[in-house]
């Protein structure tokens, strides 16, 4: 009996140890530290809910949370809209089909940090030079106001992630039986009706997956935020992930940053679990 279990634990040990040391222990320590005055080195003493009270009174954190929420709503909508449109487009029988897919997916292979730098050039230099050329002043200084900075990030994210979401929609669209569409056509359904009554219900699961991915990716965004706007001007485009990093490693307020990180975890978990719940409910209906 002992021998039969030995292989089991040997096979599991490396992955389980890594998970424990890298994720579970830091999370547990993190929750504990958030109730203390830990500064990264000193043995902590308990301060209770002090940090949590302070963080909800802090404008900077609330601003970051609000900005992140707004950004997530807009980018989830845009990414899914473009993703589905591109998928519908490249599942037509084009000769250029494969090359189009390849191109739309391309940005996803390059890291968010580098993409942010490329777009920083476009928004500051190219926009300004085009604006000057055609005499539109509104194109200048795109990363220097909160509103345009917001849209700059939304554009970057839509451009990057639409291709990823497209791939997910494609795999479901290709699973829609052709006979079903043909039968509907014979029954006199036009292309809009065919999409709404046949295709759309069948790609609903893709919608759930995409929604989950875009939601969590937008909410946890860091690299693109860092390299595109750096949170500026005056922290007005700073998202939560960046705010936590700054509190911890620039302002050196470790326990306070950790309290923010715990709140961040609770929000992300709540969003994800709601998503899973809705997903499960829908599966039962189907």
């Amino acid at each position: 009996m002992r021998n039969r279990n030995l292989w089991y634990w040997l096979f599991l040990a490396p992955a389980l140890l890594a998970l424990a040391v890298v994720v579970i222990l830091p999370l547990a320590f993190g929750v504990y530290y958030s109730f203390t005055d830990w500064n990264g080195i000193r043995i902590p003493s308990f301060v209770g809910l002090e940090h949590y009270k302070a963080l909800f009174a802090e404008e900077e954190f609330k601003d970051a949370l609000w900005f992140t929420t707004k950004f997530t709503v807009v980018s989830v909508f845009l990414i899914n809209f473009f993703g589905l449109s591109l998928a519908l487009l490249v599942t037509q029988k084009f000769r250029t089909n494969n090359i189009l897919r390849t191109i739309f997916f391309m940005p996803n292979l390059i890291g968010g940090l580098i993409l942010g730098f490329i777009w920083q050039f476009i928004f500051t230099k190219v926009f300004a030079s085009v604006g000057e050329l055609i005499g539109v002043e509104a194109l200048e200084g795109w990363l220097s106001t909160e509103t345009t900075g917001f849209w700059a990030m939304a554009i970057l994210m839509s451009w990057q992630m639409a291709g990823y979401i497209m791939v997910i929609y494609i795999s479901f669209l290709e699973g829609v039986p052709q006979e079903l569409l043909e039968a509907a056509e014979i029954d006199g359904a036009n292309s809009l009706q065919r999409f709404y009554h046949v295709t759309f219900p069948l790609v609903m699961p893709a919608f759930t997956v995409s929604l989950f991915l875009t939601l969590s990716n937008s909410f946890k965004l860091y690299d693109q935020n860092l390299s595109l706007t750096g949170g500026g001007p005056y922290n007005s485009t700073q998202m939560v992930a960046m705010e936590i990093f700054k509190t911890a490693f620039v302002e050196n307020a470790m326990a306070f940053a950790q309290a923010k990180a715990v709140i961040f975890f609770l929000i992300v978990a709540a969003i994800s679990l709601t998503q899973v719940y809705i997903n499960k409910k829908r599966e039962v209906e189907m």
């Binding site: 998970l19 990264g40 292979l109 690299d223 390299s227």
Partner: protein, 273 residues
Amino acid sequence: MKKKKQSRIILEILGIILALIWLSPFYLMIVNSFKTKREMFEDTIKLPDVFSFENYTVAFERLDFIKTFFNSVLITVLAVAVIIVFSSMAAYALSRRGGKTSGIIFMLFVAAMLIPFQSVMIPLVSIFGKLEMLNRGGLVFMYLGFGASLSIFLYHGTLSGIPKSLDEAATIDGANRFQIFWHIIFPMLKPVSVTVAILNIIWIWNDYLLPSLVINKPGMETIPLKMFFFFGEYTKQWHLALAGLTIAIIPVIIIYFFLQKQIIKGVSEGSVK
């Protein structure tokens, strides 16, 4: 029928226009990377008068590109190898023995996917600092911890489709668990291993935050890390910065054009399951 053909052509043209728009950031980056500072000031859209590689030579040198590139390759290859070996083994154990313990451990791995990196970041750095593991080995170990969840999830799905009678037959022939796994099961998992490899390579190759916290030392930087410092140094010199960015993404684009089918398939399988 003719009308249908016409609308298809219009749609295809629309697709091509969109693709050109999608490519335009890369066009702008490459075109301007060949310009002088003055030329760029005049116009950012047009092609350069002469294609001079001067920006590239400077950027290549300042990025210490060959070294940086191999740092990235080393970390990515080691991390992905470790993830494939240990995740497939763990998934095999969980799916073959089953039972309550396995169910709980599997759920633990899946649940860990919900935890954002920022929530564990600060204690993680502190723990690894105390263990004196803020180095490449520590980084690879961290990638195993963060990458195992999705990988085990993917392996687990496939393993439940491989009949246990296969293992039993091999046991009767006198094979032990290690032999069964490495000689019979692991080769059968090749398609999932490709998916797992693709998903993890994309993520680890491009990761910035974790290396910036763990191996932030001269000579050890990966491409994203080096790019960040390089960029900070040349904020006002876009011609050099753009040449640097182009150098950094060229290897990725070359590989992508060779493996595009597998990459897109891997990503779609990884996210749909």
